[in-house]
């Protein structure tokens, strides 16, 4: 893992890779993240930088790899997945978050988005299935409950 991380840094900084921070643009060149529609959210969630530029240090990189590895527990994965899907960082998944999530899944570009009526129907169905306390948003425990029943997660 250290090798992959140091490959992302420009040559001069490779010696003290442990303390360096890799800018977001470099991280997005990783093949696993390149094709991922949630790439920006992933960088945002795992980055601990104070100035909000989403750069990642080696510890952040390790965090990200450990969460995505096969041996992470489902609880950790669902916790981080919740944070990734929460586009406005307010701690719950409300209608706007769900709408952005579905748009990410179906792809960028105008012709690949669902129509408004379909989006409404879909969000209605999602909330019906997972919102237990019927408050119109999905909080962390509801999300974890839904995900624990899902075989493909």
């Amino acid at each position: 893992a250290y090798k992959r991380f140091s490959e992302l840094l420009p040559k001069e900084e490779r010696e003290n890779a442990r303390s360096a921070r890799v800018p977001k643009s470099q991280i997005l060149t990783l093949p696993e993240l390149r094709a991922n529609p949630f790439q920006h959210r992933i960088c945002r969630v795992f980055s601990t930088s104070d100035d909000g530029d989403d750069s990642m240090s080696f510890e952040d990189f390790l965090d990200m790899l450990s969460v995505f590895s096969d041996s992470a527990t489902s609880e950790i994965k669902s916790h981080y997945a919740f944070r990734i899907f929460d586009f406005d960082d307010d701690g719950t998944l409300d209608r706007k978050d769900l709408e952005k999530l579905v748009n990410c899944l179906t792809g960028q570009g105008e012709e690949s988005r669902l129509s408004n009526a379909e989006m409404e129907q879909l969000i209605q169905n999602i909330l019906e299935e997972s919102d237990i306390d019927k408050d119109g948003t999905i909080n962390l425990s509801e999300f974890q409950h839904v995900v624990s029943r899902s075989p493909d997660f």
């Binding site: 899944l105 179906t106 129907q121 999602i126 493909d152 997660f153």
Partner: protein, 611 residues
């Protein structure tokens, strides 16, 4: 520093326990990793998963499972049946040959002169024998007729070969059954939860829909499109369901009568297939056998020999096309349409094998003369009928393999070359073919059913099946990588795994029927094979039991009698009802808890301010 302070006060014993458990866990993890490296084709399947998604990857891991299963079956049959026979033939142990027939068997039943083409033969004859299992192949250990040893003696121990043959057959059937059930248990649990109420399909698709293993941007674009397509289809299905619920009586009547009519057409198509297979088998058998009296075997055309295989393959190809055309008229929801077509295709493929075997048996047991009735089977044409059946299964398997090779070479690659180099409109509109997962799976399940049925008649067939599936893996992988585009409709891995195993299980259960009839009902041939001195192949078991000490005999008789079987069956029913009731109770508890969670929000005791 808190942690450090704690560690200082841990006794030496606890520290040692903690470090040893940590190192044990580490060792176990490394062993698991190492064993995953040893898994066959691990890297190939991983790359397929990355490029084409988990649905297609499940097909390839299913193929890998079949290779392993066939290999184990081969090892089983080889070590218990073939190896002792070969060792005995080379005279290492003292063995008695079952050449002495029973007193009440007419001598004409025991004449069997296979034409083994020794000496100089034309290359064409050699090739023909290789492809149809006759000639020099017929007398090898590939077929049933080779196993003539009655018992092999190792100093004082007597190795009862007929019993071993029969028990090895039961063993490989039981092994396959248990292994498939074990693999399908996980999928079954998920399916049980999901089938009862589709309460999470949308959440599943949205939260768990993205396949994080995809690394190729082209594949990612396809995944986006497939997700969009899937979501749209589901929403449309929901709208359709609401529409169906609002149907009027008149419309319902019209639709039901249309469905009955189409089912009649389906039945007609099926009977057409079965009848043509029956006629082809009868024709092929009639034209490739002459009675022993003439002492010549007609040089049967290879085409006539392979006629049943050709007809079956044609039927397997045409019938699904007809079914998918017809189902458009029946106005079902899309998911049900797919399932029904699949079920019909499965039925066609497996029933075709059954019809072939049935027509073979009607030929074998057809007895006009009294002499023939004394043997119990048609001794003139089929002195060693098990080898004949084995040859038919062998031909089916070889032909199946040839067809898969031919389709890949002569259909897929030219199509790909055409699409990449010719830019005219109709060709581009046709485009590359999708990788039809269900078609491919049905193909290999069909091959596996043949293998299961055929192994009793031809003990080395699993080896051929192992090699065949091994080569098919590489063929399919190359064909997939170069000539196919990913499917527009994605198939979810968890449900498809379960579906493959269910159909495989159906194939296995269907394979029990012909084997059961062959072993227990049809008299074994008296001219060849290990069961010469018995009436039927099954008769070796009662004969062995009679040789046991009286106490053991009585116990076994007791187990097989009604006095034991009926209470046993009732106890099993009770256990099953108990588990069903338990599952129902759990479901009710889950419902109640969900309702309570919803109520908690309004309860002033539990109300927490929203953060």
């Amino acid at each position: 520093d808190c942690q450090q302070a704690d560690i200082k006060y841990l006794s030496g014993w606890k520290q040692w326990k903690r470090t040893s458990s940590k190192s044990l866990k580490k060792v176990l993890n490394e062993v698991k990793e190492l064993s995953s490296y040893l898994k066959l084709w691990r890297h190939d399947i991983h790359s397929i998963e990355g490029k084409f998604g988990t649905g297609i990857q499940s097909y390839f891991s299913f193929l890998r499972f079949l290779v392993l299963l066939n290999f184990i079956i081969f090892i089983l049959m080889f070590s218990f049946v073939t190896l002792p026979s070969i060792i005995s033939k080379y005279g290492i142990f003292n063995s008695s040959f079952a050449k002495i027939p029973l007193e009440n068997i007419a001598p004409h039943c025991t004449v069997y002169k296979p034409n083994d083409n020794k000496g100089l033969v034309y290359f064409y004859t050699y090739l023909k024998d290789l492809l149809s299992g006759t000639g020099f192949l017929e007398v090898t250990s590939l077929f049933y007729g080779y196993y003539t040893i009655d018992a092999a003696w190792l100093s004082v121990l007597r190795y009862n070969l007929p019993l071993a043959y029969l028990l090895a057959t039961f063993a490989y059937l039981a092994l396959s059954l248990l292994w498939i059930i074990k693999r399908s248990v996980e999928g079954f649990k998920q399916n049980l939860v999901h089938a009862e109420d589709q309460f999470q399909s949308y959440c599943n698709k949205v939260f768990a829909g993205w396949d994080f293993c995809i690394t190729d941007p082209h594949a990612a674009r396809l995944k986006h499109r497939s997700l969009q397509y899937e979501l749209q289809t589901d929403l449309e299905e929901e709208r359709l369901k609401r529409k169906i619920a609002d149907r009027t009586m008149k419309e319902k009547l019209r639709i039901y009568s249309l469905r009955i009519f189409i089912n009649i057409i389906v039945l007609a198509v099926l009977s057409g297939c079965f009848y043509s297979i029956y006629r082809a088998t009868v024709f092929s058998q009639e034209n490739s056998n002459v009675s022993i009296g003439h002492d010549i075997r007609t040089d049967a055309n290879l085409l006539v020999q392979y006629l049943p295989s050709i007809v079956i393959t044609l039927a397997n190809f045409i019938a699904p096309q007809i079914f998918s055309f017809l189902i458009g008229f029946e106005d079902y929801s899309p998911a049900f349409e797919i399932r029904l077509t699949l079920m019909r295709c499965v039925f066609v493929r497996l029933a075709n094998i059954g019809v072939l075997l049935f027509s073979l048996w009607s030929q074998i047991s057809y007895c006009a003369t009294d002499k023939c009735k004394a043997c119990g089977y048609n001794y003139e044409l089929y002195p060693c009928w098990e080898s004949e059946v084995g040859q038919e299964m062998y031909k089916l398997m070889i032909f199946d393999f040839i067809i898969i090779l031919a389709v890949t070479l002569f259909l897929d690659f030219p199509r790909m070359l055409l699409v990449t180099h010719c830019s005219c409109k109709p060709v581009q509109w046709c485009g590359l073919q999708e990788f039809g997962i269900s078609d491919n799976v049905l193909e290999i399940i069909y091959g596996q059913t043949i293998c299961w049925i055929g192994t009793f008649f031809s003990p080395l067939l699993p080896a051929i099946a192992t090699i065949k599936y091994f080569i098919i893996f590489y063929i399919k992988k190359i064909s997939l990588m170069h000539t196919r585009k990913p499917a527009a409709r994605p198939v979810r891995a968890s449900s498809s795994n379960f579906f493959f195993l269910v159909v495989l299980l159906i194939g296995l259960l269907l394979a029990f029927i012909p084997l059961g009839i062959s072993i227990a009902h049809i008299p074994s041939s008296k001219a060849c094979g290990p069961f010469r001195s018995f009436n039927t192949s099954w008769a070796v078991v009662p004969a062995t039991i009679l040789g046991f000490p009286t106490g053991l005999q009585q116990v076994l008789h007791g187990i097989a009698s009604e006095a034991f079987a009926v209470p046993f069956f009732m106890v099993i029913c009770l256990v099953m009802f108990y588990f069903i009731a338990l599952a129902g109770a759990h479901k009710r508890v889950v419902e109640q808890l969900r309702e309570q969670l919803a109520m908690v929000r309004f309860d002033p005791l539990f109300c927490t301010p929203k953060v």
